[in-house]
Symmetry: C2
Amino acid sequence: MQIIHTVQALREWRKTAGRVAFVPTMGNLHEGHMALVREAKKHADSVVVSIFVNRLQFGQGEDFDKYPRTLQQDADKLAAEGVAVVFAPDEKELYPRVEQRYNVEPPHLQNELCGKFRPGHFRGVATVVTKLFNIVAPDAACFGKKDYQQLAVIKGFVEDLNFNIDIIPVDTGRAPDGLALSSRNQYLSEAERAEAPRLYRELQQAAAALKSGATDYVAIETAATDALTAAGWSVDYFEIRHADNLAVARAGDKKLVVLAAARLGSTRLIDNLEVTLV
Amino acid sequence: MQIIHTVQALREWRKTAGRVAFVPTMGNLHEGHMALVREAKKHADSVVVSIFVNRLQFGQGEDFDKYPRTLQQDADKLAAEGVAVVFAPDEKELYPRVEQRYNVEPPHLQNELCGKFRPGHFRGVATVVTKLFNIVAPDAACFGKKDYQQLAVIKGFVEDLNFNIDIIPVDTGRAPDGLALSSRNQYLSEAERAEAPRLYRELQQAAAALKSGATDYVAIETAATDALTAAGWSVDYFEIRHADNLAVARAGDKKLVVLAAARLGSTRLIDNLEVTLV
């Protein structure tokens, strides 16, 4: 496995690499990322994993500075999975001017759900992923459903800007108690970690209500929010949306997704669950 | 020469095309475009010319509907130049959803110079050229210096979004009397056509003043604006800028460009002239 730090060297390698599948990450890899890598291997001759903590997608007061950087451990895990290249540019390599003048601007969806609490986040995601797509030139790229809104943004700009890349969604990896795998789980205290699976349980309960025919979305959302709040969570949102485009769900919609973001102490967790009604 | 109308067919052709140089146009081709095509041929095995009148870059009240569509004549000219492919998608092919949700958003420069008079124009240009770049996947692309601000926007997003495409600027083609070649020249009455070369003469005069050591940019700009106004023009702007980034020129700058846009009757003409001081 090669670790490549520059755009130029990556492009040189790319010329003879055949079909490439790409997994962009911010490093600090866990089993959820490994599931993306294993899926990527099914779609290409070579897998490229990028590791880059993208300042552009962190807001003021977010955890850019304390975001864990663990390149050596990450590289060891990826080598064991048969990854061909780790692309690990430094900030100057991706943002040589510091200022990013031209951005990929998402539509209003960027200000809803997580975007409401993280202004500029999805613009930063869309822009850095566009840059990485243009550097890696992959045939396919894998993204976790855990970041469901991010996946929607990426599918959206790939379609609207005609990127010739297959976007492959990968199911969320979970701990045995249901907690979605996330780099941020390590910020949780022991007591918070024990409480954390409630988020997924509330999603499951909402999904069960929908499947049993409940159609009062607001009542379901409010019940879950109240339950989380009573258990000490600070809920950013708990919402039922249309799974395809994340539009607010309407009566009769069959493809739904329940999405939630809530904070335990200072740690913000997100999760979601798709619900297809018949 | 093939005329290709769909993204899928273009991508199929592209797979075996070797090195490709690309000339995006809105059709109604004149000698200025042919100079772009001839330059493109120097840089690749195959030249692709796109012909697409991009609604996204026209403002309200602009000439989208009356913009001349002359595909057959255009194709004949391009065949004679040895172009490999004309890519002529219809609107539904490039904007299947009608609404373009994700856009390439330029910085404040998009609201200056021509952008001040054409809100949204450079966003529309950056977005459609990004789409075309992702469809054609060229190694190089040629753009005329006549649309100097457009060229700056394209160089800017190619750099910031890491497109792996050489952007090749091509000098402005001119009629014998100096008028920059433009599809819009055909809108001019006989009297307006006779008057039109004054725009370039004023640019030359400003350039001569700069070369002779004049440093009062505002005085030069005002003199030119007054002369054009006195001759019946309605001047949108006449400005001296830094040639590299189109920042407002400062005392001591050596690489300058004088840019102008002015209307004769209802026809808006633009032109510019680079001035390098020693």
